[in-house]
Amino acid sequence: MKFATMLSDLWESLRRKPITQQYPFERTKTPEHLRGLLLYDPTNCTGCGLCVKDCPANAIENIVLDKKAKRFVVRYHVDRCTFCAQCVASCRQECMKLANDMWELAQLGKDDFEILYGAEADVQAVMASLANGGSNGTGEPK
């Protein structure tokens, strides 16, 4: 039946700096496996759509401009994504990767949450068609 068992802790924490980390001013290095923003490079993508089917949050749309010429544009909804990296596991051609340094993803507007990945020309084409056509948010590739 000891009396003040936490005394050693109190004494030790008096001599140490408080453990709380002042986040915006002090930043620790993000761990290597951290799952941040999704990055997609269309070079060896075959347009199979496995990533679209497997995504639990329907956050990826693979817009197929031209299957043979391998011109694909991925429309990525950051606000729906839960960063589970299932797309990285499902994609057999390893075109999907989650960045481990981009994790402060807050945006001011809702439409900033939509990112179009793909070759420059394709992205412009899709942007144009989106501007007037405005495809709905469903996940199946066109």
Partner: protein, 395 residues
């Protein structure tokens, strides 16, 4: 109460909204004179219809839906589901993946037990222990973030294996983290078992004898605190527990202090198993080929979540969507059986039993409206109920 006319039953409501209650639930004790005749609860305030949700998602998507049933045992749910689906599909995850799954499961057990230690200390007003145990919990959460990529929903599993590998540096980081945690846990063990102020709040409270625990079918650490050796890792080892066996930690007293003891001692068991896994990590690849459609059939998958046995029943109709996924979480089971412990007890014992169930349900300071025959409805404060209990025994 010598009155002869039939006693009607009185409902003693204990309301859903309470600051200490992390999960909202409403409890009603039907009282016949002094004896509690019925105790029931009304849950569902956070019911999200997950079992219905699993029926229109594919096998892969369900993994992430089921992971969000509970914050602190998300990996247990994903592991139970993945093991079940792999059994159905006849796929065996490679040994290295199984070992990593057990590694993350044990890290999550440390995380969950340290969290419970803090919350229970906060319930007893011991805020310093709460602050320190949650500070040390950060170490294990950093380890998990470093290893899996996320602090809470680790999403470590993929059907047929795991997503990442454990590199040598990560293994060393885990070993260093565990050394620090082990020394701290040793300190907490002395605090929990010797601090006189704390023992006044935990020793001899809500005692559950071995027979009661077995009859009620309590599971997990609460059962092991009453010397009932129920631990799915020991009884029916899954994943890599066959190659890295675990001993069940038992205590005999069965009161709140014993439950503290069991959970803190289980931390030491987890440290041992993790070190063993890191030392003898089997080689091999991380995932096995998994068909997109699962053969028809049913299976039961049981694993040991931090709070007790997690029971999954999965039925597949041969398509790429499950027909039925039933997840029975340990807390529902523990809670139902301890509530039945209340039946037959004196109304005067209710504060102790409620305080002992699980700190996040300890609502030992509520207003109780008790109207007995002959008296008009008088409003009892919980203190009055407690004092009434004390005098009742003195008579």
């Amino acid at each position: 109460m010598p009155t002869t006319e039939p006693r009607e039953k009185f409902i003693v409501p204990i309301g859903p909204q309470h600051p200490a209650l992390k999960e909202p639930g409403h409890f009603e004790f039907t009282v016949d004179g002094e004896i509690v005749t019925g105790a029931t609860a009304r849950l569902g305030y956070v019911h999200r219809g997950i079992e219905k949700g699993t029926e229109d998602r594919s096998w892969v998507q369900n993994l992430y839906l089921l992971e969000r049933i509970c914050g602190i045992c998300s990996h247990s749910h994903a592991l139970a589901y993945a093991l079940g689906v792999e059994k159905l599909a006849g796929v065996e995850a490679p040994p290295r993946a199984q070992a990593i799954r057990v590694l993350v499961a044990e890290l999550e057990r440390i995380h969950s037990h340290l969290l419970w230690l803090g919350v229970a200390a906060h319930e007893a007003g011991f805020d310093t222990l709460f602050m320190y145990s949650w500070r040390d919990r950060e170490t294990v959460m950093d380890l998990l973030e470093n290893l899996t990529g996320n602090r809470v929903n680790y999403s470590a599993n993929v059907l047929g294996g795991v997503k990442f590998d454990v590199s040598v540096e990560q293994a060393d980081a885990i070993r260093r983290g565990l050394d620090f945690l082990e020394e701290r846990t040793q300190h907490y063990l002395t605090v929990v078992t010797t601090d006189s102020m704390f023992l006044r709040r935990t020793r001899g409270i809500a005692t559950m004898s071995k027979q009661q625990a077995e009859a009620l079918g309590v599971i997990g650490p609460t059962a092991r605190a009453s010397d009932v050796p129920r631990d799915v890792r020991v009884e029916s080892p899954y994943a890599a527990y066959t190659t890295f066996p675990v001993e069940a930690v038992l205590a005999t007293a069965g009161d709140l202090e014993a439950r503290f003891l069991v959970r803190v001692k289980e931390l030491f068991e987890s440290y041992r198993v993790i070190r063993e896994i890191l030392d003898r990590m089997p080689a091999g690849d991380l995932t096995a080929r998994m068909p997109r459609r699962v053969k028809e059939g049913e299976t039961v998958s049981r694993i040991e979540a931090p709070r007790g046995e997690l029971f999954y029943f999965i039925k597949s109709g041969g398509g790429d969507r499950p027909e039925r996924v039933k997840a029975r979480t340990p807390s529902m089971f523990n809670f139902a059986s301890v509530l039945t412990l209340a039946v037959g007890h004196q109304l005067a014992d209710i504060p102790m039993i409620m305080a002992g169930i699980d700190p996040c349900f300890s609502c030992n300071d509520r207003l109780v409206v008790v109207n007995r025959i002959g008296h008009e409805a008088d409003v009892w404060t919980w203190e009055k109920l407690r004092q009434y209990g004390i005098e009742y025994y003195r008579r």
